[in-house]
């Protein structure tokens, strides 16, 4: 094709579609290139009838195509209609596989060999990636599909499924009830799949409900008639043709990063969560090549659409005020001496060094997510032992840190430009000190997710935070009163070490070569007693192990293992001894602390092997990363299910715990219920950042949930369900007098129905943070079987009931 478009847009999701619509509206020569035969593949793939939400509610929509919260079908139809009306020039079934050239003449190569030329390119391909194809002849024939929406649609067919991951297994199991299914596995096991799926598929194979061909690849696919064909497998025994009516390939998706990098776009770090750095005009490091939408780190539809509109404005040379400007203005207005949004942004960037390396767009996003706080002098910003995890930067005035709970007059001042709160952010644990506001204090409070996004995307931010964490951790735990300068040598020699769950930090008898300050995760300390390994202690993040090495240089007296994935800061002995030589007072003080700690250890009740077993069991159940967990003493539980009923009654009819499910050991039962993890896995991919941690540690889901189901998948303990809560609980009086629904009666029917309907949101335990009196499950247990414990109490629990 010889013509050159002014603008080529790759990907027709909300971002790309909005860009194309604006281009069409402005009469710009453009082409919208979409790999699939329909618009907006990601939305298209949502479950039928899904209620699509328009978060963030406060952000105004600015686009030439409509969007409001509503049913998936309604939204897609409206988009199709707008696209037709605006005469958007769309190329469907056109996957872009390479972008070369430079501003003014980019060449986009399509998978069918064609090339398209354009002056500017907008990359809006989202984060879903492309399904991996079979990679053989016939991979695009009508016989092969790379996705399965509704297994119930197929009956009495002969179906071949290629793949051995969770998606392939789930599809195979679902289809096998009504069809003849053969599963093709490249290897001879299913070890890549989740345990539950693995067990289920092996069972189905054993029972003959599924056929499986191991160690087989796909050599070719050929259609023989309409919806009939042959798939030829290559096996160690030779080629094996199979007649079939349908082939479903579930080989995973290739994350878009490699493709994006091949276009010349640079990612700031290797972190898989990193997003490409773009300017405030969404332009990447390649001039003329723009990145918008989920790919640029904006995971919601409305944001994506606004960016689509804006990017075209920028390309045609206009500079509209960003749609979020009113939001920022309303945030900034309260600042003393406020003039304009850009002025304040500039002030923030120059005034707070840690934010200096951010791109303007990153800073904007950062500020949108953040809250500006102007506390009165003396006000408590957070208290020691709060469970909050936000990050604070000081824009003006100063704050005072009170690290010592016994002496509140001991205050460390922090001035404008500095930051605090990084300890809890990194360790996932309670605040280690109380912080008070000083005179004229202006703070920027940023939620955990935005900070983590920055840490992943901006290497300089990560480095500064890591170093500060280290210095402050040493200051607060080991060398109180010493300045950062005095600690420089020790800090420089320290290193961050990472351990997988179960990995050994050091063994009894090893040379004591340093101290480990646990930065993230937790460890168990065990000793060999009478030939058996016994766990003596559980040490959570924020504390240290191996300290004796610093003073005595003796060999390790115990074996320390990571209970979960753990990061420690290892301090080397030599530089630390050098420090002690310079500060004899510190040596005495430290010696005393460590001695009393050793004494406390020695007087701790001796544990038995039963206890070791229990600790082991609890760690397996994920309690190593728990902050608060529901346990049930099976010796007391009478199975009345009051705990579940209480949960349902106080939480819209859906119980967030499943008492009977879950593992038990030595009469201790860990029901299926939230562990309120230190670093909640569920928070990882929540597009509207709806999962938060409350000051008492409760991990809870706010109303901003859009029901995408990511958290349900990400929680390793299976405690999140998708459901619709009902507003009115059944009334006790009317049940007593007239019968009907008993309070706390199971609402499973409602749950199942909600699953089929669409307005579902994620529901999980919130530890009854809004109820006075604490968790209803525990308060409703008539026998005292149900208890909630925090990690500090694990060892106590394992030492018996009383």
């Amino acid at each position: 094709m010889s013509s050159v478009y002014a603008l080529a847009i790759v990907g027709s999701g909300p971002a790309g579609l909005a860009a194309a619509a604006r281009a069409a509206e402005l009469g710009l020569s453009h082409v919208l290139i979409e790999a699939e035969p329909h618009l907006s593949h990601t939305i298209h793939r949502y479950q039928k009838g899904k209620h699509v939400m328009a978060e963030p509610a406060a952000l105004p929509l600015r686009a030439s195509v409509p969007f409001a919260a509503g049913q998936r079908e309604v939204i897609l139809t409206a988009w199709d209609r707008s696209a037709a009306k605006l005469k958007i020039h769309i190329r469907h079934r056109a996957e872009v596989i390479a972008i070369t050239g430079a501003q003014g003449r980019f060449t986009l190569k399509l998978s069918n060999g064609e090339a398209i030329n354009a002056e500017h390119v907008v990359l809006a391909i989202g984060l879903q990636g492309n399904p991996r194809k079979l990679g053989c002849e016939g991979e695009d024939s009508g016989l092969v599909q790379y996705q399965l929406d509704d297994p119930a649609e197929y009956r009495n067919e002969t179906i071949v499924i290629v793949g051995a991951g969770d998606a392939a297994i789930e599809n195979a199991l679902a289809l096998s009830t009504q069809n003849r299914v053969t599963l093709v596995n490249r290897r001879d096991d299913f070890d890549r799949a989740r345990e539950g799926n693995r067990d289920a598929v092996l069972k189905a194979i054993e029972q003959g409900r599924l056929r499986v061909v191991y160690n087989a690849g796909v050599a070719s696919v050929a259609m023989t008639a309409a919806q009939r064909g042959v798939i030829t497998l290559s096996t160690p025994q030779g080629a094996a043709p199979i007649d079939c009516q349908r082939i479903i390939a579930r080989l995973g998706a290739t994350p878009p990063r490699a493709f994006v990098e091949s276009c010349g776009i640079v990612f700031p770090s290797k972190d898989p969560n990193a997003v490409p750095a773009v300017s405030d005009r969404y332009e990447s490091n390649v001039p003329g090549l723009y990145v918008i939408g989920a790919l640029a780190g904006f995971p919601l539809i409305k944001q994506a659409m606004n960016q689509g509109w804006e990017v075209v404005e920028f390309i045609v040379g206009r500079s509209p005020e960003p749609a979020d400007a009113p939001l920022l203005a309303s945030k900034f207005e309260r600042l003393p001496g406020y003039r304009s949004v850009p002025a304040t942004i500039a002030q923030i960037q120059s005034g707070i060094p840690v934010l200096a390396p951010l791109t303007p767009l990153q800073l904007r996003e950062f500020l949108l997510d953040s809250a500006l706080r102007t506390p009165r002098a003396g006000e408590v910003i957070f208290s020691r032992n709060d469970y909050s995890d936000s990050f604070f930067s000081i824009l003006a005035g100063d704050v005072f840190i009170a690290p010592n709970p016994d002496d509140v007059s001991e205050l460390i001042p922090l001035a404008a430009g500095q930051f605090f709160g990084e300890m809890s952010l990194i360790s996932g644990r309670r605040r280690s000190a109380t912080v008070l506001a000083g005179e004229g204090c202006v703070l920027i409070e940023t939620p955990r997710r935005s900070m983590n996004k920055l840490i992943a995307s901006v290497a300089a931010v990560k480095r500064v935070l890591d170093e500060t964490f280290l210095t402050r951790a040493i200051q607060s735990k080991l060398a109180p009163g010493l300045s950062a300068d005095e600690l420089q040598e020790v800090v420089a020699s320290a290193s961050v070490q990472r351990f997988k769950a179960g990995e050994v930090l050091f063994k009894a008898g090893d040379v004591g070569d340093g101290l480990h300050l646990i930065r993230k995760g937790s460890v168990t300390v065990a000793q060999q007693i009478a030939g058996k390994e016994m766990v003596l202690a559980y040490v959570p993040a924020g504390q240290y192990v191996g300290e004796m090495a610093l003073l005595t240089g003796a060999a390790r007296s115990a074996t320390v293992k990571a209970a979960i994935a753990t990061e420690t800061i290892k301090l080397e002995v030599a530089p630390f001894l050098g420090l002690l030589d310079k500060h004899p007072a510190l040596r005495d003080q430290l010696g005393n602390t460590l001695k009393s700690r050793a004494a406390a250890n020695a007087s701790a009740p001796q544990s038995d092997s039963q206890q070791h077993g229990i600790v082991q069991f609890l760690m397996q159940q994920g309690l190593g990363e728990a902050t608060d967990v529901l346990l049930i003493d099976e010796g007391l539980c009478v199975g009345c299910d009051h705990c579940e009923k209480a949960c349902a009654d106080t939480h819209g009819g859906i119980s967030r715990l499943d008492r009977d499910a879950g593992a038990s050991f030595a009469q201790l039962h860990v029901p299926t219920s939230c562990r309120h993890c230190e670093h909640p896995h569920c928070m990882k991919d929540c597009p509207p950042d709806a999962i938060r941690r409350a000051p008492n540690g409760e991990v809870f889901i706010t109303d901003a949930c859009i029901g995408c189901g990511n958290c349900e998948k990400n929680c390793p303990y299976g405690v999140i369900q998708m459901g619709t809560v009902s507003e009115k609980p059944p009334s006790l009086m009317s049940w007593l007098l007239f019968g009907g629904t008993e309070p706390g009666a199971r609402a499973e029917k409602a749950l199942v129905k909600a699953k089929q309907q669409s307005g579902k949101q994620a529901v999980k335990c919130d530890m009854c943070k809004d109820l006075s009196g604490g968790p209803a499950c525990v308060r409703a247990c008539p026998t005292g079987a149900a208890i909630r414990v925090s990690p500090e109490q694990f060892i106590q629990i394992t030492q018996g009931a009383d």
Binding site: E634, T650, R779
Partner: protein
């Protein structure tokens, strides 16, 4: 160096204790004091016409008894007020048990040991029955949970039911090539394990649906509640079918003209059926134990209602006839 565990919501108790020893036997001590006080008053008090409910002490003790009954019965309400922050249910149960026991003594002192064939003594008898059923409840609460835990050894009923379904499938598959006789027998034995009609469909139709499996076990449980402690349940008697299936199979084993392969299959089938039957027994035992944990309440609660009715009658009558 350890971080303090402070900053918890108030209702959390640090150590974990059962309801009997709640807060260092707080309610046991309270109930004991109450009893001692009442006995002392009773001994000290010497009314003209002997001790009776009609004396001023009688009225006082009667009043205390009434208050206790109301408090004890209120447990049924508090139990379902899940949002209530008025103490924990464990504390309520603890108070319930000890004050319930004290009630016997107080009501007896109140009556002045004047029993007869009248409405007053009916109220008293009902009260004693409630208390006795309550004591039985304490006994099962103390014993059965551990028995269940031992029976389960870390597994769950759901897992067993899942395994049972698998074993049934396996049995059917093994039986398939062995001719219609064997097959029919196996199908029959599977069908008999389930209760009533439609259950088979429940079991198979929603195999992956844990919830409907629970409905299945609920159905079993309800059935069993009715039959509990009576003769071995007839509609759900695995041993009857077990016995006959095993006998039948054994007969097949002995009946000569079978190829080695068939023999091997039969042996496998026997093994599978044996395992399944053991599992059925275990599931039954689990269901029965759970039912026994709850079934006494079916006596305790209606008797409570009867007691309240009788008490009202008692109070009304003493006001009319004194």
């Amino acid at each position: 160096m350890s971080q303090p565990t402070a900053h918890r919501k108030p209702s959390r108790e640090s150590a974990h204790t059962g309801f009997m020893r709640h807060r260092g036997f707080r309610w046991a001590k309270f109930a004991l004091l109450l009893c001692i006080a009442c006995i002392a008053a009773y001994v000290w008090h010497e009314p003209l016409d002997g001790p009776s409910g009609g004396s001023w002490l009688g009225y006082t003790l009667g009043g205390i008894a009434l208050a206790l009954v109301v408090f004890l019965a209120w447990l049924g309400v508090r139990k379902r007020r899940y949002g209530s922050s008025l103490g924990t249910l464990k504390g309520w149960t603890s108070a319930h048990v000890y004050l319930g026991l004290a009630l016997v003594l107080i009501a007896t002192l109140h009556s002045g040991f004047q029993f007869g064939l009248n409405i007053h003594t009916l109220a008293y008898t009902l009260m004693v029955l409630v208390v006795v059923s309550g004591i039985y409840g304490i006994v099962v609460y103390a014993k059965l949970p551990q028995e269940i835990a031992r029976l389960r050894t870390g597994s769950t009923r759901d897992a067993w039911i899942e395994e049972l379904l698998d074993l049934n499938d396996e049995a059917l598959k093994l039986a398939e090539p062995m001719g219609p006789d064997v097959h029919r027998k196996v199908v029959g034995s599977i069908e008999k394990v389930q209760i009533g009609g439609g259950l088979r469909r429940q079991l198979y139709g929603s195999k992956k649906q844990k919830r409907s499996l629970e409905q299945f076990s609920d159905a079993l449980q309800q059935r069993l509640k009715a039959l509990i402690d009576s003769a071995p349940p007839e509609t759900f008697n695995p041993s009857a079918t077990q016995q006959s299936t095993v006998m039948f199979m054994a007969g097949q084993l002995g009946s000569g003209d079978k190829s080695a392969l068939d023999l091997q299959r039969l042996q496998q089938l026997l093994d599978v059926i044996g395992r399944r039957n053991a599992l059925v027994t275990r599931i039954n035992r689990d269901i029965a134990l759970h039912a026994r944990l709850q079934v006494w309440l079916l006596l305790h609660v209606p008797l409570t209602f009867a007691l309240i009715a009788a008490l009202i009658a008692h109070i009304v009558s003493v006001f009319f006839y004194w």
